[in-house]
């Protein structure tokens, strides 16, 4: 029964998201479903945050959202019932067999591999209890606290305000609130099956990559690249660990692809730009790095627009200038809708962006040692397997096509993001290789002497 309510708890935000998506012209039911899930879950947690902050009952919020989703579902059915019946009438065994027969052996093997990986992530997500250090110290802890004591969670005078000092109170709250939303549906804190939420992020991101690739390349090649993604060790690992990184990748990737589709379309749809900004806003609502990533994208988008101005000699054309400014305004404002309230909240409560304290980022000199260790982590560790090397090889072998218009936009974003992380690590923290490799409890190293009155020898018995 818990699995049923978990699925319901994810379907309801998806319906809410579909309500927004229905105003935008999008191709393909798969993309619509994925965007609805992403937007819906993001909006639900964003609204739940402000609702609870105002001291209103989260349970009432759940009831209101559920009622809205039922109404929306009714509206969808009323307007699209004929399309729905047409879709159902098209489904037949003969059509399915015909479709399967159209696949080559290689494609079937690739689909099988992707299916097995999805099955693996789903199985692990439902078997393992939450165990990751940061999950229990931060994300799941906040979710549990919010479930039991929402009034304490938002009481700035309480020790446990936003999880308390040790739980990164300055971190964005999408993941904890999504977990709490599901707990409300389950009627309890279930830190076993909650891992499935992350499995769904995995499935939707893999599917999104496939559907997006299909717009540009053939099915077989799209499947090959999807297999590369779905078998990446670290990516798979995050598919069943309650960490925010996968969700951040999900929102950021969608934002980038929507922006890419916007600039690469013959007839640009401004709604893509708006939606892209919303997804970047949600990525900053998942992790603070989302702000930095948006900064990178904004700079590259500006470079792109300036390049277009020079290329098409738009200086003399006033209406084109206005159009470009309008694009920027829509992009930034759609991002700011979701991010600005959170930033104001943080400023109001003196919360910064450090990953160590609740205060601002602590700049700590220049750390060139990070350069070698990061390169090693990217290319030599098992995290991304051979993908970084293969990616570089593809860039070399398909150089002209990779850097042609508008593909260079994606290349700039990839290198821009890597550069941004390098700069951050070079000036913020001296992260040693060991810390990067094993960001985990180290018994015997960290176990210290207890800070206890009158005990000088409270040493662990190791």
């Amino acid at each position: 029964m818990d699995y049923f309510f978990l699925i319901i708890s994810l379907i309801i935000p998806t319906i809410i998201g579909a309500g927004v998506i229905s105003f935008i012209k999008l191709k393909g039911w798969g993309i619509k479903l994925i965007l609805s899930f992403g937007l819906g879950t993001g909006l639900i947690t964003f609204l739940m945050f402000w609702w609870s902050f105002l001291g209103l009952s989260p349970e009432v919020f759940v009831i209101i959202i559920t009622l809205i989703s039922i109404i929306l579902l009714g509206i969808f059915f009323f307007y699209w019932r004929s399309s729905f019946y047409r879709f159902l009438s098209k489904i037949s065994l003969a059509r399915i067999i015909k479709k399967i027969k159209s696949f080559e052996i290689v494609e079937i093997i690739l689909i099988l591999v992707i299916t097995l990986e999805i099955g693996f992530v789903l199985a692990e997500g439902s078997l393992r209890p939450l165990i990751g250090f940061d999950a229990l110290a931060n994300w799941a802890w906040k979710a549990k606290l919010f479930f039991y004591q929402p009034q304490v969670f938002f009481n700035s005078g309480a020790d446990l305000f936003l999880g308390g000092a040790g739980a990164h109170p300055n971190y964005p709250l999408h993941i904890p609130l999504l977990m709490t939303w599901t707990y409300f549906w389950l009627g309890q804190v279930n830190d076993i099956i909650i891992g499935l939420i992350f499995a769904f992020y995995f499935i939707f991101l893999v599917s999104f990559i496939y559907f997006s690739l299909r717009d540009f390349i053939k099915r077989k090649l799209a499947l090959i690249f999807t297999v590369f993604l779905s078998t990446l060790p670290l990516f798979l690992y995050h598919g069943f660990h309650a960490y925010a990184d996968l969700a951040l990748s999900f929102y950021f990737t969608i934002g980038v692809i929507l922006l890419f589709k916007y600039i690469s379309a013959q007839k640009s749809q401004i709604s893509y730009l708006f939606l892209s900004g919303l997804f970047f806003g949600l990525s900053a609502w998942v992790k603070s790095e989302g702000l930095m990533l948006f900064g990178v994208v904004l700079i590259i988008f500006l470079i792109y627009l300036v390049f277009e101005i020079f290329k098409h000699s738009l200086f003399k054309n006033k209406s084109k200038w206005i159009f470009i400014l309008k694009q920027l305004l829509i992009f930034i404002s759609s991002f700011a809708i979701l991010v600005l309230p959170w930033i104001i909240f943080k400023i109001n409560f003196g919360l910064g962006y450090s990953n160590v304290t609740a205060a601002g980022i602590s700049w700590s000199g220049f750390h060139p040692e990070i350069f070698i260790s990061t390169i090693e982590q990217i290319f030599i560790s098992s995290s991304f397997h051979l993908w970084p090397g293969i990616f570089l090889l593809i860039l070399i072998l398909a150089g002209r096509r990779a850097w042609s218009r508008p593909n260079y936009f994606l290349g700039l974003i990839i290198f821009g993001v890597i550069l941004a992380y390098f700069i951050l690590y070079l000036f913020v923290l001296a992260i040693k290789l060991r810390d990067l490799q094993y960001n985990a409890p180290r018994f015997g190293c960290r176990i210290g002497i207890g800070k206890i009155n009158g005990i000088a020898s409270a040493r662990p018995l190791l």
């Binding site: 940061d134 229990l136 110290a137 549990k144 076993i192 060790p233 398909a398 960001n439 985990a440 015997g444």
Partner: protein
């Protein structure tokens, strides 16, 4: 080489990085990249020669050959990772399938501590927390020894909302001491209950109930 395929047991410690594996003292990726670069170079040279001599197979699409080659290398070099996945699934089905949430947490914590090579008497930390939950009155403030981030996080997360972890023993009503070499007397605290001789609960002296088990229960 055999050892390479015999390292599939997870350390339960991977978070941001899946660690590399070495073969003959060098990272396995060193060999993989070397093979890819060498074979890619051979393919390119062969095509170059074929193009110069106008051989018919120079018309074969290089992109397709390169794609299949990369795909093959991808799967072959991931054999180790697929092996790990299989082991994880097998172990986790054995450890967690059909078990209650409490049993799963017990098992997971035990596995995690085992993976760090700590002695057997460290494996039952979750049992000790459950023991504390049963014995200590609800809503009490607790302090946990040893002071280790993992133990503190586990205690805070799993004992909430029944018990509240504090960061200073002066604020605590109870002290949970797990495998710590405590002195004979602890200022302000009295022995309350014990799971084993080194896994015990101390109570703040002024809270001492009449019925407290000074000699150690259980």
């Amino acid at each position: 080489m055999i050892n390479y395929f015999r390292q599939p047991i997870e350390l339960y410690s991977y978070i941001n990085i899946i660690p590399r594996i070495d073969i003959f003292g060098l990272p396995d990726h060193f060999y993989f990249y070397a093979i890819i670069i060498l074979i890619s170079a051979v393919i390119l040279i062969l095509f170059g020669l074929a193009l110069l001599k106008n051989r018919p197979w120079s018309q074969v699409k290089k992109g397709r050959i390169f794609t299949y080659f990369i795909l093959l290398v991808w799967f072959l070099t991931l054999a180790h990772w697929f092996n790990i996945q299989g082991h994880w699934l097998k172990n986790d089905l054995n450890d967690f399938y059909g078990k209650s949430p409490v049993e799963r947490r017990q098992q997971a914590i035990s596995r995690l501590i085992q993976s760090y090579g700590l002695a057997d008497n460290w494996h039952d930390f979750y049992d000790f927390l459950e023991f504390g939950r049963q014995e200590i009155p609800s809503q009490s403030r607790i302090y946990v020894l040893p002071v280790d981030p993992s133990f503190l996080v586990w205690a805070q997360y799993w004992l909430y909302p029944d018990l509240r972890l504090v960061d200073d023993s002066a604020k605590a009503d109870y002290l949970l001491s797990f495998n710590v070499n405590l002195p004979e007397s602890v200022q302000g605290f009295t022995k309350f209950k014990q799971l084993t001789p080194n896994k015990l609960i101390l109570i703040r002296s002024d809270l001492l109930p009449d019925r407290s088990d000074q000699s150690g229960g259980n």
